[in-house]
């Protein structure tokens, strides 16, 4: 039974698992895996359960439930405090709500070059790149680890997710930014220490 197999694999994997990997391992199609996962999530992600199924993009992972955070933290003698600096929080928030998001979009919203803060968040495992971090086409999203800080099973559980994600103005301004970038590709690179390939060193 597929949902049983998936449950077993999620339990032993001890890392975020992609649907693709699950499909391969179980010899099933991605659609079948996706349907089985919906079933599993519906069973776990309810009040009164001690285990949650987290989902991030096409990845899933099991974790403890938020209600038992204190108990588990004491049991593990874990010292996580979850403190983040203001730029980290700001950047993580935008990526959580808008992800997957490119560096250009991120910079359009923050009005400031984000190379270093992105690098910092990548190193700490709070953000992950889909592609090479320095490729301008690369998009970023938050990691399962960041969801675990927040205590949510997926970004959709964030307050006002739909509103902030598809905000009419955001979409419009981002489109403008993207058009601008396409018309004047050199302009983005001015002061950014990391985004250029070595060969493109701005003179």
């Amino acid at each position: 039974m597929l949902s049983s197999k998936i449950e077993s694999l999620l339990f032993v994997a001890a890392r975020p698992m992609s649907m693709k990997r699950l499909a391969e391992a179980c010899g099933a199609s991605k659609e079948e895996v996706s349907a089985a996962l919906d079933e599993i999530m519906a069973a776990y992600n309810v009040d009164g359960r001690g285990i949650r199924v987290l989902h991030n993009g096409s990845e899933v992972q099991l974790s403890t439930s938020p209600d038992n955070a204190r108990l588990v933290q004491d049991f593990l003698k874990d010292e996580t405090t979850g403190e983040l600096t203001k730029p980290s929080l700001e950047t993580l928030t935008i990526i959580a709500y808008r992800g997957p998001v490119s560096k250009a979009e991120l910079e359009q919203i923050r009005g400031v070059n984000c190379s270093l803060i992105l690098r910092n968040l990548l190193m700490r495992g709070l953000v992950e790149a889909q592609g090479e971090p320095y490729d301008p086409q690369t998009t970023f999203r938050v990691t399962m680890d960041f969801l675990r800080f927040l205590g949510v099973a997926g970004v959709e559980e964030l307050p006002e997710y739909d509103k902030l994600r598809s905000h009419e103005n955001v979409v419009r301004v981002l489109e403008m930014a993207v058009n601008k970038a396409e018309n004047a590709p050199a302009e983005a690179g001015e002061a950014s220490p990391t985004e250029e390939a070595p060969s493109q060193d701005p003179a």
Partner: protein, 235 residues
């Protein structure tokens, strides 16, 4: 007056702008953007410690603020400025939405409803499992790739320092240009500009001079070259 804004706490130009507007208890609008332009510029002038790699970002916003403000000084900019205003205004609104959301996110993390996973893989006796095709020369190649990727990270910041031109320096440059001629074309000011930042800084400096009534500017046609003249020499 009244820009009692705490220093060194800005995550970027939009953050500064928002703080200036809010400290005046204004809403985000074109009028309030024009209103805080001087305060913004003063902040940038008075904080040479803004890291050079961030200064460019501050200057981009400064130039957009000046566009907005300059409508009062340079009526011929009317049509052009409007688009810039709407742009910056909505950009700031969006920034504010995410800034507010980041406070909600901070509160969420503050609740410490952390989710835990077990990271231990069940014990499997696998002994030694090397990557079969890997050779030491492939490793050298991989490491060269890693090293190349670090290049912009370790090299560019210095280049930025050399490139960024301070507004003051540019003002002096324009002033000395006009001192030797009665009038000068803006294009000649830009002739040796190395980067977009420098162009912006030049324009910024020009608008500063106009504001200080040191020079007047005129333009024959929309998008035409701007002629700068000393106030005494102006008709």
């Amino acid at each position: 007056m009244g820009y009692a804004v705490k220093l060194d706490q800005f995550e970027g130009p939009l953050d500064l702008l928002l703080e200036l507007i809010e400290s005046e208890k204004l809403d985000i609008s074109t009028v309030s953007l024009a209103h805080v332009t001087d305060g913004y510029l003063r902040y940038v002038h008075e904080h040479p410690e803004i890291p050079p790699e961030e200064l460019a970002d501050f200057l981009v916003i400064a130039s957009r603020l000046l566009f907005i403000k300059s409508r009062i000084l340079l009526p011929f900019l009317q049509g052009i400025a409007e688009a810039e205003e709407g742009d910056l205004e909505s950009q700031l609104r969006i920034y504010k939405e995410y800034l507010d959301a980041s406070k909600v996110v901070e509160a969420l993390i503050g609740k410490r409803r952390f989710l835990f996973v077990h990271e231990k893989l069940p014990h499997v006796d696998i002994g030694f499992a090397p990557p079969k095709k890997l050779t030491s020369s492939m490793m050298a190649e991989l490491l060269r790739g890693v090293i190349a990727r670090l290049e912009p990270l370790v090299k560019v910041p210095r280049a930025v320092v050399e490139k960024t031109v301070s507004i003051h320096e540019k003002i002096r440059q324009i002033q000395s240009l006009i001192a030797t001629a009665t009038s000068v074309r803006f294009s000649s000011v830009l002739a040796d500009a190395q980067s977009r930042t420098e162009v912006i800084v030049s324009f910024l400096a020009l608008l500063e001079l106009v504001k200080q009534r040191t020079v007047t500017v005129s333009q024959d046609a929309m998008w035409g070259d701007i002629v700068i003249a000393q106030v005494e020499a102006a008709a």
